[in-house]
Symmetry: D2
């Protein structure tokens, strides 16, 4: 199959279940909402070594938020429910509560599988001076702080979502692959329910499970040497085509299979429109590890 | 003492020792260096609940970096040396190694008290395909990745620095205090050797040790009720002056006492130039907890 | 009338007819589309002294643009049709054609009153090497340039729109008014069909027609002294309330009356949510100069 | 000659005299200073069709500005002195005076060849309510506006500078050339005294004087067909090497020859460090039109 002249490999992305929270951060101005959302989702690429997977899902204009102020929806994700709650308390308590003029509301709504009492736990910071209230049809706590009052919804919904949706962009040069990756991330940014948790949404260093080097057996993950352009003539099992010199991966987490598939589709479409892109493929473990399989070609049927 | 008509309280900021690393992240473009630096320093406000204190210190133009590419110096800080190394490995390995076109170099140089073999440990990701080399007079590892080769210096210096330099901005309205806080952060950004680790450099929710509410004794820290404008007429021990309705704090970490003091000085100067600022004060524990005391008035002698 | 506790004056904004063009600029990445849109709409606040009124209306995601790439819709406006064409040729020819990876498409569509052959005229830059083509159901020209081929739609629609929709935000301090103005601009940014052409969308220096000072009669416009907080106790005809010390104006241009009214409504709502805002009013010339009158209170009926 | 493996052609950039102004715009925060600087320098790529050439030269931290606030130095340039004054009045009067919290100061200082009474003329906007004063050792006017008082220095220095310093980046793919162009602009941004007036600092559509197509003789300038990659096999006089598929130009204006040469040097160095760049060349008219000639190879001697 070719799309916009780019070969789409007959393969699939293998993805995993993950617990997802979806929090709306509002602030007096879009700028401060963005600052809080960025800080709260930093150091959140992959749970391999980060304490959570996190990212900004989308901007919500004032006319669509409970308090009529500009906001950003972020996702914080973790495979373990208890650890997700821990991460929410830390990230919201340290990176949003501390940020000027912010407030937080649940953005999972009816999609939620369960409710976590994150706001209830944050309110203890109020030292008894906090107030329970109902605002905009939501149960909230108002916590007095130096910057005024911090509003947090009492409960935040979480649901079983999908982690690790992915595709690889292979191009004639590193620069072509990089521009295509940026274009893909731009496209995915407009799909509801998903985040691209890596820096700028792009992965420059793909990994494989374990190590092939016998001396490095202590490593949990090492570079995916088959996908390294500089090892094209060096390793026997290279999967880099002759005309490819640049590879980037896009990784997607989302609230459900449909949103991740839509994100993969839009991202791939955008990447194929960039000159120099030669091939799109995806990462999997032969279907042995992950619960979900997203076939690339089926996205376009 | 008054500066630009603003009262400077006769008090001091109480600060603490912390281990500081200083890493230069370069990339093909300033944009990608910024993305990596932002991701690597996210979720890094305070070690009370974040796994590290981290921030972007400054931009370094191509003419001043080892590889002639644009870069940002970040600081990653932790009170415990072993935990600092852990955080460096995780943040550099997950948020920079994965970011397109980046490389990392030590930026502590001769100031270092000790060297951590962070690059040496990161290189195992190369699965044996990595190469040891010397570039720009530095010992580096070249790790093959999808995006080409990731260059990391072998060792990164760390030193005993200072955490928790601070001052409070009190103004007629919340908005005046907020603009003044932003101005202060802008000014501090040009002081070498320091970071302002909170979101946008500003703290909206100051805390005190423990809780005053007997039911909340399980809390390690709660809101500094004396500094909450909405509690001015509510609590007996409020420290909010009659004409003050907005308070923000600036927290500063740095490589040494001198840089933190210079940052406090420049930040306070900038804040006092904003209309509506009434008073500058600082946070301390009566001098009982911290190793360092920075008297506000002495900064201007 | 009060909204969120803020007094809405019983007055109206007086606005004028203006010719409006609406151009979609797409690029390989959102970043480059934004750069082109920003350059093309710069120096475009008011036709009093700028050669056009111009601004970015909104971002359009790849899934919604003709070429599947990220784009921004800009508006370029001028009271004279011939001058609008001139401005479009200059701004698109010098600030977009020159910008890497961009393309331009008509975004006025069926709303257009007339069509200007802007693409047809730009194509002469191709020196005969350009090609006429049909892409995405649109007639376009492909002009060979260093960066590849520049695609421009042949014709761009223009329509009679509205210039000078406005409201004034009066607050307790300059900083409160500034934060409220930023919030208002954030809210207006999500209304289709409008731009806020001044810097950051905000006007800091309102003007009146002519001068009151007899020595300054040569001036076409001078400061609206009645609205200057620093002249509150100085001029007899000051309109600054006792409790107001900061005033900013928001000016709105748009494709029709409905969009400008909706923008005024959303902007005022957002401003009234910011603490310290005391009053909303609007600017008019007693109804003698402008074709349109937008009563503030009627916006909320 | 090769630099970092990239061929540097033995040719020269041909540049022209231009009148240059250098204005420091300060504001309460870096953000608002940037907004004003961006608006004031927009629609300012080339005097071929823009009313001026303009750009942001550099950021100046609060500790280095007269009023201790963050600022940006912009340049506004025009071949004619009278037209430069006109442009300064319009751009500063419409795009900075109107922007919240800004002030403007001369940044040409002792370099100036002449002084323009720009502040003196702007003050008439004050309708007689303005005040003459001396601040920070400078003669200024304080003009009452809605946002408080606008401070403008009375006189602004201008000098005979240099327009049209340039070099071309030729690379294997469009994307490689684009990343290299961005890297070059990043590097030039740290050279004092210069601007890169085109969008994002990059020129995607180089032009030649007049037209080669006899039917297009009415055109003042048309596409430089020799430098268009898509015309490589089409026109006989193509100058695109076999292995080149992407070309971008960097154009530099500056206060003097030395600063423009330093900018060309730093820009070329940065471009050659990007993978895929094949050749650097420059644009000239055989030395017949411009006053200045900057030989590429001599930059590196």
């Amino acid at each position: 199959m070719e799309i916009n002249g780019v070969y789409i490999e007959d393969t699939f992305a293998e993805a995993f279940p993950i617990w997802v929270s979806r929090v709306l951060i509002t602030a007096a101005t879009k700028k401060w909402a963005k600052i809080a959302a960025t800080e709260a989702t930093g150091f959140g690429c992959s749970v391999i070594m980060c304490p959570a997977e996190a990212g900004i899902e989308k901007y919500v204009p004032p006319s669509k938020t409970p308090d009529g102020r500009p906001g950003f929806i972020i996702q914080i994700c973790h495979p373990k429910k208890s650890e997700l709650e821990h991460q929410m308390l830390e990230r919201l308590g340290q990176c949003v509560l501390t940020c000027p003029t912010t407030a937080i509301f649940d953005a999972m709504g009816d999609m939620a599988d369960e409710q976590l009492k994150v706001g209830f736990k944050l309110k203890f910071f109020g030292d008894g001076y906090e107030k329970k209230d109902e605002l905009y049809g939501r149960k909230v706590y108002k916590i007095p702080i130096m910057g005024g009052e911090f509003i947090t919804e009492a409960k935040f919904g979480i649901k079983k979502g999908v982690a690790g949706g992915n595709f690889f962009i292979m191009a004639d040069t590193n620069a072509s692959a990089l521009i295509a990756a940026e274009a893909a991330v731009n496209a995915i940014a407009s799909v509801d329910g998903v985040i691209t948790p890596f820096p700028g949404g792009v992965v420059a260093s793909g990994s494989k499970v374990g190590a092939s080097n016998p001396k490095y057996k202590f490593m949990v993950a090492t570079t995916n040497h088959k996908m390294c352009p500089t090892l094209k003539g060096v390793v026997e099992d290279s999967e880099i085509p002759e005309d490819v010199n640049g590879v980037y991966e896009i990784v997607i987490d989302g609230v459900d299979e449909e949103s991740v598939k839509e994100a993969m589709k839009q991202g791939i479409l955008a990447a194929t429109r960039v000159k120099g892109v030669k091939k799109i493929t995806a990462g999997n473990y032969g279907g042995k590890l992950g619960k979900y399989q997203f076939n690339l070609r089926e996205l376009f049927e």
